[in-house]
């Protein structure tokens, strides 16, 4: 986890940065004047930082929530797996084309129970971001995910997916290899999986790219994430015919965890550390872990056939319409 001064701040997080700078200045003063005790001043400023973190995240607009989900210091899938579990055995490849670095997965011990973790992976620096293709999987990524899900199903291990993607990759080769078919197949197979499936949006949940590993018995969303059918930017460009309306599009799409919970499209909101997951990876992972374990405990006692039926019914209820007599 980056520490100040290596932290990055979103525009609306600037007041926090200012407080850090004040602490720096106070510490410099303390060095110059060793006889004066500045510790209480520093302590006060540190408290103000926590207060500011809290204050900022209580009044976020939907677009700011989107920005939070893309915070450059935010933890990604691999970090959560590392912090929540032990014995992570990463597995590679779709057994067909190649290993997609934008989609990772493998067995791990979660609270003594073997589970299969699957999720999109974003890169932490320029080089890694390119290698991970910004978390945009190709068809082989979705097929790798399906291979791992089938492996888990064979051995009766629950599946936990961590979703963080700006979308499935819109590339030429992706189309040649059937991006649509790969996502469709995953959605279809996931709804039929005989083992418990927990899905959690940990960052961006963009459209089919997210749903391609997002069909489960319980769908969770972390507090500062978004999940809908299209990114606010693309929605703006198509419906408003301008790239400038992303804030309005985000408002209209109602894509936050609170919105999604209210609509009954997700099951639970997972709280984040004060100010967002990027302030404390350990705490963020600990909270998420508790939610995943509780959700698993709740659904693993249901017989597989019943669980599948409930899954189909749950998604089957989603939608709204008028019906004339």
């Amino acid at each position: 986890m980056p520490q100040y001064p290596n932290r990055q701040f979103l525009d609306f997080e600037q007041p926090i940065k200012d407080l850090y700078e004040q602490i720096d200045q106070t510490k410099k003063l303390a060095e110059k004047n060793p006889k004066i005790d500045y510790s209480s001043t520093v302590q006060q400023l540190e408290n103000s930082i926590i207060e500011k973190r809290r204050e900022i995240t209580t009044h976020l607009t939907r677009w700011q929530r989107v920005q939070m989900s893309r915070h450059p210091d935010r933890p990604y899938t691999h970090k959560y797996i590392e912090k929540m579990s032990t014995n992570f055995l990463e597995l590679f490849g779709d057994r067909n084309v190649r290993d997609d670095k934008a989609m990772i997965g493998g067995f791990a011990s979660l609270n003594g129970q073997t589970v299969m973790f699957i999720g999109q992976q974003k890169g932490i620096n320029t080089k890694m971001r390119q290698m991970r293709n910004f978390g945009m999987a190709n068809p082989e990524g979705y097929r790798k995910a399906l291979r791992l899900m089938k492996l888990a199903e064979k051995f009766g291990k629950p599946i936990v997916t961590l979703i963080d993607t700006p979308g499935a990759f819109p590339g030429l080769e992706a189309e040649e290899r059937g991006q649509g078919e790969a996502i469709a197949r995953n959605i279809y197979e996931m709804i039929r999986l005989r083992v418990p499936v927990i899905c959690c949006i940990i960052g961006e949940g963009a459209s089919g790219g997210a749903l391609g590993i997002g069909v489960g018995d319980k769908v969770l969303m972390m507090e500062n994430t978004w999940y809908t059918v299209i990114s606010p930017e693309s929605c703006s460009s198509i419906l408003w015919r301008s790239w400038e309306k992303k804030e309005v599009a985000a408002e209209q799409l109602r894509l936050t965890a609170t919105d999604m919970k209210e609509f009954g499209l997700i099951d639970e909101i997972v709280p984040e550390p004060i100010g967002g997951a990027h302030w404390d990876y350990n705490e963020a992972a600990a909270i998420l872990k508790t939610h995943i374990i509780n959700a698993l405990d709740e659904i693993k006692i249901i017989p597989p056939d019943e669980r599948i039926e409930q899954r189909i019914i749950k998604f089957g209820k989603m939608g709204f319409w008028d019906e004339a007599d």
Partner: protein
Amino acid sequence: MKKEEDNFESDLSGEESQGNIASEARRKWYRRFRKGITTSTAEKKETPEGLWSKCPECNYICTTSELRENLFVCPKCNYHHRIGSDEYYEILFDNNEYQELFGNIRSKDFLGFTDLKPYQKRLDEIHANTDLKDSMRVAAGKVNDYELVVACMDFEFIGGSLGSVMGEKFSRAADYCLAHKLPFFVISKSGGARMMESAFSLMQLAKTSGKLSQLSDAKIPYISLLTDPTFGGISASFGMLGDLNIAEPGALIGFAGPRVIKETIKKDLPAGFQRSEFLLDHGFLDFIIDRKFLKEKITQVIMLFQH
């Protein structure tokens, strides 16, 4: 080859005339054609100019009735015009006899979504100006004496977009197939998800897949016909999940639209990219079928599954 990029995405906004020439031409053609068949024969004789139709692909001019007899396929270049559920039902069902199912389900604006226009207003306007209730119609009838349930999209209705109503109609059609042990045939023609329904439209992908899972367990054949254009949410769900996936010739089919791909890879796309023939070559279609052989072929498919 295409002279203009057909940016079907803009149809998803439900707005008219967006300077999208190719799509606009297709839309106008269809309007003229619809108007032509609803006009009485006497009026038609008096207004012969409305009866001529120009092919958007090769500019070949023929009469609307000639085109109709040719099942809306250009006699010269085999271009398959974009047609609606009415026309497909006429092509498929014996004596054009069928029973429309679940026609009473209509979209509503649950979210209070407003882009350039409120979604509800958009819906009201389309309901007032067309006889379409939504982007999918379901019908049951006989195809060469074989009973079949057909769900067909209408591109005219907000670009054939996938929203709650399509998801629900698809699901009920599947239930109908389960109850009556009938094969299910879906004709797709859609730009993708209905953005005005936000995440609800996305969840239709999972909802419809759940139904396909039940059809699968009951060994009910499900045939997916992809027509021009089929994109986004449809190709990422039931469009690509047929026991047989088939397509009309030259149809544009894909996950991401050509405009988005071009912007991403910053290169021109190869000729024929995302066309039916391209998908067949890459192994994603069972076969391509000319519209004039569609009824025959579907009959053969049902026959083979049943005997």
